[in-house]
Symmetry: C2
Subunit: 325 residues, 2 copies
């Protein structure tokens, strides 16, 4: 039996985590031979509810679940972790200004960045899903100066799989027939799901679906999908977000498929004119556990404008919390 691997999950009593934890314990991320320790972080008032989740985890008698740590202390949660899912974030409440939301979340991710810096393994993979995800990831990364920036990413995988699903449905093909979709920019309604490089059974996707559908239907559908799910389900996306978190981390560990890429929000290296250091979603390839921004894709004027709008939004978010970087 291998040694257990430590995985941290924040916001562990929340809905996304409720869909995530049982899949992690069942081996959905690291496979059927890798024992894990779950290190679960919550704010103090949520510890009682989290203990209820712990009871259920224990009740499953998972052979792979070596131990579960429940804590409200970030350093305890991140102690020697190889993987960290930063799921918890303050939701926007009615009447709350966006700037207040940014600031309140900034405090959380500043603290967590410092704790990761102090406690996590040096090869840790940190995935931020709590919104505003790009800026929260930036904060955590900048507050962890002893960890490589490449240890951090924010999640655009749910946008990515939503885009794949929409394209596959439109073309009446299976998911496996779609490749090279990407989502650029901010994990917000500004995001730019892009089909200029996408292929369906190896054929240029735009030539199949037409530009009007791409601009008038596909882009807004992917951008506003979260709101539509809330309308239909009466609750925000949880199981699909948890699935995307597992998929993002799984690709980060195991690599991308030959010839394909995924969308990941990562610290920019200046590619495509996006200011260095901003956390921004790019098409990425993963080799040996390291992500690399796919370079030299052709970007036309339509795309360039959307990339620029996304950069402006991410930059504006950053300016609001710059004193905490």
């Amino acid at each position: 039996m291998k040694s257990p691997v430590d995985i941290a999950v924040t916001g562990a009593a929340g809905q996304i985590s409720y869909s995530l934890l049982f899949r992690l314990a069942a081996g959905d991320l690291l496979g059927p031979d890798q024992p894990i320790v779950l290190r679960l972080l919550e704010i103090t008032p949520a510890l009682d509810a989290l203990n209820g989740v712990l009871m259920e985890l224990n009740d499953c008698a998972y052979p792979l679940l070596h131990d579960v740590v429940v804590t409200d202390d970030p350093k305890t949660a991140f102690d020697h972790v190889d993987y960290a899912f930063l799921v918890g974030a303050k939701p926007r409440k009615q009447g709350m200004l966006r700037s207040d939301l940014l600031l309140q979340n900034a405090e959380i991710f500043q603290v967590q960045g410092k704790a990761l810096n102090a406690a996590a393994n040096r090869n840790v993979k940190v995935l931020v899903t709590g919104n505003p995800a790009n800026t929260n990831a930036l904060l955590a990364q900048r507050n962890a100066p002893d960890l490589a920036p490449s240890c951090f990413a924010a999640m655009s995988m749910l946008d990515h799989t939503r885009a794949i699903s929409q394209l596959a449905a439109k073309c009446a093909v299976s998911i496996r027939d779609v490749s090279n979709v990407c989502v650029w920019g901010n994990h917000s309604c500004m995001q730019y799901p892009d089909l200029h490089h996408a292929k369906v059974k190896g054929i240029d996707a735009l030539s199949l679906v037409g530009r009007d559908w791409f601009v008038d239907d596909f882009i807004p559908t992917v951008q506003h999908r979260g709101t539509e799910v809330i309308k239909a389900r009466g609750a925000s996306s949880a199981a699909s977000a948890a699935n995307a978190a597992i998929k993002h981390m799984s690709v980060w560990i195991n690599g991308t498929d030959d010839g394909d890429w995924v969308s990941m929000a990562v610290p920019s290296d200046g590619s495509y004119g996006i200011a260095e250091g901003l956390v921004y979603s790019f098409p990425c390839r993963v080799v040996d556990g390291q992500y690399h921004i796919v370079e030299s894709l052709e970007i036309n004027a339509f795309s360039r404008e959307r990339l620029r709008q996304n950069e402006a939004e991410v930059r504006e978010e950053m300016l609001a919390i710059q004193h905490m970087l």
Copy 2:
């Protein structure tokens, strides 16, 4: 690529199903090479919410999810299914008599039994988790005369894994060190979790934990665990119930481990003096996709009394709905 296999889930917009569906689609039951079709049944008023779940399933872009059918018609839901998870049931509301609960659920499972009889594949495996699970399974089975009784089971797997977890924790050993636990009888607070045959690292469990702990602590803890989870979490067990459903079905497909057994509520063949035909939880071994009650275990006076009490409770439930069998 293999042909898709059809899996029905009832009560598909409910909380247990929300924890179940995404795991089925991820391949947690049938593995990474088996495409599936999910056939989701709900009552008409819940179809809107179920369509929200459908949106999330699509958003995941699961390569294995060949299709999803959403319906309020049982025959459509069960059309050519190989596996059916009967999750949906009416919950007991405040002031409702237990007899009313039995009758209202009886109507649901009578209809579903007839629909399974008409539409399902002849080798279907039907797992009832909706409460009262034993009697609901009896109703479905008796209303499906063209299907073998061995196509049906009710779930006592959550009780079974809860019992394993409690014993492993008490002995400070890993889950893998525990075997031959069983839970007898009704999936209710009357259930009898039994350690007389259980082993910890091959050693007789009762000799390790002592009879007082077994009687005064272990039995009531397992019996009332569901209530304790509700108290702690503010909601009933969903993810652990879904996990148990996957485990029950997985064992039913792949077989029990050598020398071990699991607990399954199945139509009695008269073993241990339990009246033939009653759906009752026994220790079962599974070979080639067929469950067999483990015979000839020694039952002492203490255990015999608890088996008898459970039989009386299951029989009483049956009498309340006998006109619908």
